[in-house]
Symmetry: none
Subunit: 156 residues, 2 copies
Amino acid sequence: MAKLSDMIENFIKQMLEENDNNYIIIQRNELANYFRCAPSQINYVLETRFTYERGYYIESKRGGGGYVRIFKAGVDEDHYLSQMLSRKMGDSMGQQVAYAYIDGLLEQNILDEKTHNILKNIVSDKTLNIQLPLRDEVRANIVKSIFLTLIKFCHE
Amino acid sequence: MAKLSDMIENFIKQMLEENDNNYIIIQRNELANYFRCAPSQINYVLETRFTYERGYYIESKRGGGGYVRIFKAGVDEDHYLSQMLSRKMGDSMGQQVAYAYIDGLLEQNILDEKTHNILKNIVSDKTLNIQLPLRDEVRANIVKSIFLTLIKFCHE
DNA sequence: TAAAATTGAAAGTCAAAGAAAGTCAAAGGC
DNA sequence: GCCTTTGACTTTCTTTGACTTTCAATTTTA
């Protein structure tokens, strides 16, 4: 019965949707209290679901008056794609990171669900079943190729 | 007494029939418990009876809140896809052959132009820049994975 | 009274425990 | 001899809790 993380994820996403800004501010302990879970559970959700690759950015402050601020990347498709490409995408990429990038494309409404699914399966370890240094290199190439193709489509 | 595997197979098929969606979600351990068998028995049934050649697609997640999701293709309306699926694609595939398969998906209106483009770039020699016996094997896997995933989405 | 220490209120870190599912090889039945 | 069945072991994902760090406000102290 471990849907807690999913519930928290959806809760945060809904807050982001309903908000006029591209960010929300939460109190970690308050949210943990609301869901009756350990505060670190919130960190877990943020670390696994609201990553840079998925188009999110987290900022926080400790101590009195502390907070956690969650940003969601903007809606300019072209900009989003080239940002992702130019920053951080290395020559080697693990399965989870690749998944995150592709999830981000769905969340930004750049891909529909069908394509999203196809691409995730393509970059899975199961499909890319070759030796490990190579596998992650091919995967990085594939993900980059996806972003490149999408950028081309922006300019048509 | 019918074999256990057959009983489990029928049970799952019935669940699929009675469901409005083209998929069902089960807990592996729960089902194993229901049939009083080892959990891995469920895997055996899935591997031998719910293969993609027969028009099924399996998706699963481990850990807390884990599940197994079984999709059934709507075979009737999708002549093309089910034909391709039951036909064996080789374990190795050159660029041109892969292109042909992906072009076919566009012609059958199974893919839109954007996705079609992304996929063709993925299976290109340029993206898959590894040594040659391996390259064609990975490419074959990718193309198969595409068709496999499409099963999920071919219900009216 | 200004710097320094104290305190309490956040958030962060990390590792262990728990909860599924996957793998694989050996044993059992026809 | 090939399907089935089982069970031990592995891997992945989630949840929890104890401990740490940071910050601001307040209180002490020179």
